[in-house]
């Protein structure tokens, strides 16, 4: 019994040390993409020292003033979890010294996009708010209504084009 209690205490101690938050790097897989990405949106400061690696497709957002932003995203439900709301995109604004692959087939609601494998870091915990025209359910733009979306900025260290994205989820869920 003493041995069992000692083991239990040792396990608790290990868990406590594990949870103390040593800086680590993250590779987002198909299983962890949604959970880690939502966690980054909630608590970006705990990822500032980490190198992040993930697959996404490039997407060009144009705000109401005509300014364009290149993002690395996947599609998900709005508010990053509740599937009762509208669909949105989840990811980062991309900043790179090198030109990034052009988005393609952007208006189509399918996974036939420009997929890339990115490595890099969050630039800061600050979010950039972008005001865009609302999308209608059929995918067209409603210029009479605006909405604001927030993105974290990601400093791209390396970007590799993915030729075969068949194993990657276009729409991510928990």
């Amino acid at each position: 019994m003493k041995k069992a209690i000692s083991l239990l205490l040792a396990a608790m101690l290990c868990l406590a040390c594990f949870g103390c938050g040593k800086t680590r790097d993250y590779v987002l897989t198909e299983d962890t993409f949604f959970l880690l990405m939502t966690n980054m949106q909630y608590y970006p400061e705990q990822y500032l020292e980490s190198t992040l690696e993930f697959d996404c497709f490039t997407y060009e957002l144009t705000d109401v003033n005509g300014k364009s932003y290149i993002c690395g995203v996947r599609k998900s439900s709005s508010e990053y979890g509740c599937t009762c709301g509208r669909d949105t995109i989840i990811g980062f604004l991309l900043h790179s010294a090198e030109p990034l692959p052009e988005p393609r087939n952007q208006s189509a609601d399918n996974g036939d996009k420009t997929w890339v494998h990115l490595t890099g870091r969050l630039q800061s915990a600050e979010k950039t708010e972008i005001t865009i025209h609302s999308y209608l359910p059929d995918g067209s733009i409603d210029p009479s209504r605006n909405e604001v979306i927030s993105f974290l900025s990601f400093e791209v260290a390396s970007c590799d084009l993915i030729e075969d994205a068949s194993g990657l989820q276009y729409y991510v869920i928990k």
Binding site: M1, G81, C82
Partner: protein, 207 residues
Amino acid sequence: MAKKQTAGSAPGQSKKLRSYTAAMAKLKPFPRIAFAVCALLCLIAFLPWLCIYNTDIPGIEIKVSGWNAFFCGLTGNLTVPGGVFGNMDTFNYFAPASCKPLALFGLLAYALLLAVLIMNGIMLSKKAQVLHLPAAILGLGAAVFTVLGFNAANSVNNSNILVEYCQSNPACSVESYAIITAILLIVAVIFNVIGAVKFFKARALLQ
């Protein structure tokens, strides 16, 4: 004279001892049942202490299990990414005022539950029935902290999680099943209390 007394008291002492042994033998099932209930509680700790139901996906959308609350309380970190244990990070983002006490009460409740489990385990293996009373007291403490955790979980309803996370979807609801844990803990406590009473009665037989 001394010889007479010994001769007269030996059968009485022997009878007392037999009664005591018989009474102690009757105590055996109590730690066994209490241990089984506590072990069951460790298993059902994977059930949600806090969860959100939604309309268009079956079952629970996100949850905080008992173990999730326990480990978050233990590490003091409520912002780790969600996993098999639960999504404390998401709840904490929308309702930190409720999640901090939830993690604290989860830690206290399960720490006491584990202590009760170990005590009942010792009673089973070492026949140390004297532990019934401390096990009952700790079990009662665990039940109280579980009820407090249940209250903390329900207080999430007062946050803006239904407005922001659920986007005011009327079918979206916050639920807690921590009360099941509290009820089962009371069951374990009852067996330990009965065990304690019977143990003290049995000991009184020796006097």
